[in-house]
Symmetry: none
Subunit: 194 residues, 4 copies
Amino acid sequence: MRRKNLRKKIIDAAIKLFAKKGFYETTVDDIAKAAKIAKGTAYLYFKDKPSLYISVIEEHFVTAMEYLQKIHKEDLTSTEMLQRTADEWINYMVKFKSSFPMFSIENINLTRRIMKAIKPIIFIRIEEMITLIAQIIEDGIKKKEFRKVNPRLAALYFLNTIRTGFFAQFFMPGMSVEKNATLELFFNGLKKRR
Amino acid sequence: MRRKNLRKKIIDAAIKLFAKKGFYETTVDDIAKAAKIAKGTAYLYFKDKPSLYISVIEEHFVTAMEYLQKIHKEDLTSTEMLQRTADEWINYMVKFKSSFPMFSIENINLTRRIMKAIKPIIFIRIEEMITLIAQIIEDGIKKKEFRKVNPRLAALYFLNTIRTGFFAQFFMPGMSVEKNATLELFFNGLKKRR
Amino acid sequence: MRRKNLRKKIIDAAIKLFAKKGFYETTVDDIAKAAKIAKGTAYLYFKDKPSLYISVIEEHFVTAMEYLQKIHKEDLTSTEMLQRTADEWINYMVKFKSSFPMFSIENINLTRRIMKAIKPIIFIRIEEMITLIAQIIEDGIKKKEFRKVNPRLAALYFLNTIRTGFFAQFFMPGMSVEKNATLELFFNGLKKRR
Amino acid sequence: MRRKNLRKKIIDAAIKLFAKKGFYETTVDDIAKAAKIAKGTAYLYFKDKPSLYISVIEEHFVTAMEYLQKIHKEDLTSTEMLQRTADEWINYMVKFKSSFPMFSIENINLTRRIMKAIKPIIFIRIEEMITLIAQIIEDGIKKKEFRKVNPRLAALYFLNTIRTGFFAQFFMPGMSVEKNATLELFFNGLKKRR
DNA sequence: CATGAATGAGGCTTCATTCAT
DNA sequence: TATGAATGAAGCCTCATTCAT
């Protein structure tokens, strides 16, 4: 091994590019250049371009899950947990200028050989995330913090809430929106009570 | 009028393919075959592939806006209006097995020559939709149906709620989720009151 | 169809190159240049490089079989028929500076995806040729021109004899060998009679 | 001596692979793996892949020539000598499932950098073999065992006879052909005497 | 207007060869 | 010596776009 952690270097370069330009607009050459390796080197670490893409996504999810699990262990109310999760996550996405891992959901109805390999992996990962968040919500219901709702549906909804928070940057001129306005909607709903 | 017909035929064929396979996996050849025209003909009606894609999205948005405006004119409470909108929309997306127009938002941070052309157009259209929905929400606030929130943010949030409803199909085993469970969350929030 | 018989033009260019340099050393680009077409054009007529190669071989065999069948119909003794066949064939090979179709036999124990497609086709063709020649030999046996031998084996042997005649050019300095010396050996054997 | 060992190990691995898959389908990596050495090591013993290939062929020829010379020294009639030679050789080829050294002749009209290096070496070796066999034949002629024929041509023809024997395996269904049927044809020819 | 054959730039991948350890 | 990670040239193939008919 002449250079070390080349795998990581490649993934790091690839994350940025895939996040910025997507699968098709990112060439293996781009990645190689960004990672300062020769094109062929990428193929020592990854079977092909889709495999590299999958690895990148996996990396993203692993990082995300670590966040979640860490928060999960802290001594917080369920509300605070979701709050913290959303905060960290949005920061992360803003840092990468990409809601990359969320995006992956969209690939759901892409077809053909390439995406077929990617789909099952993403599914599993999103399932994991949903399950973890659903647990937080279930706890919240037990503790009477939350209403009685379908926890898995609420979890999925939560993920989309985060996404909305991210997109708000683009569509709310001036970004005057207080960071937690979206989450406030998530917690309290649109309707006036009573 | 011959002209109009062919243009429509191409767009109709393209909508299905783009919705199913996305921009990159759909070839101009595919579209031409599906529309039963010669490949070259597509270039008589659209400058290039991105232009065709944009036109397809435009078509989608126009259709969507027509829905919205029709609903807007009906004599309904604001809540009912949003309800109706969500219903119709989800039906539409399920029919196409694609949340295509929503998806386009994700392209936000795709770059390079191709997407650069698409971005501003989508922005404008999404702006239009947000504005229209924000109006409904603003009315609702005035009528004390809704709490005092940022109407534009709530509108963006509403769009994402619809999206969640669509994705719930994939992640809620058995699809036992009542159709409006997501919307219920949107209206009433997660938290227990008082 | 802007240009006509492009398929033939490609095959003609490919025959020369494959015959001269073999499958691997001949690039699709070489062929395209020789045929004065764009690289991509070759793929309009042939699925991939192996397919093109197969077509080239087929072409060769078809030509060869036509020779054989024409001769077969003439009013000649069996000996004359074989003589004529050998003559024409060697001329043909010399013209192409290649014993290409014969060569193909050697591919018999090449493996891997590419050659696996080629093998069965060559087998069938060689079988056809052997069958036709075996018939001539069988007739010759009936007419007491030839000894009682296994006709199919003799046919295969005949093919190899032609090959020898061709190679003699390279190994017999001065090419002083009378053209039919090899065939004479084939007919009369090495051994002194009685 | 370590040196000698490794060199031999590489050649032994390479013979099998080249014989089975040919020059292009065999990668240096394949060979290294089969020889249980590092890829780079191969380059300590052989300048490049063609050089290795040449060495492999040389090895083949040397082995073959040793056979021949041993037989040549035995006290046999010329007919028996050729018989023995053919027997041993076909066994050898069957063992390797390849008429590898013979095949090399075909490369005659392969060109380009790689084959240009191989050609002259094969030529010389085949020349040697032809010369040795031609001598046997010349002796046979002197001893009135054989007819008066061009000994070198007969020798080349003999090599091809062996080849035919090898190919008979593939084209003679059931392989019922007695092993020496081909040789019988070589000795006695196709034609009926008188 | 409509066609579809032809083009060729550009992407992915392989693999012989090098070279720091 | 021996290693095997790294290199990058070169090949195959796809597909958006053009243009003669």
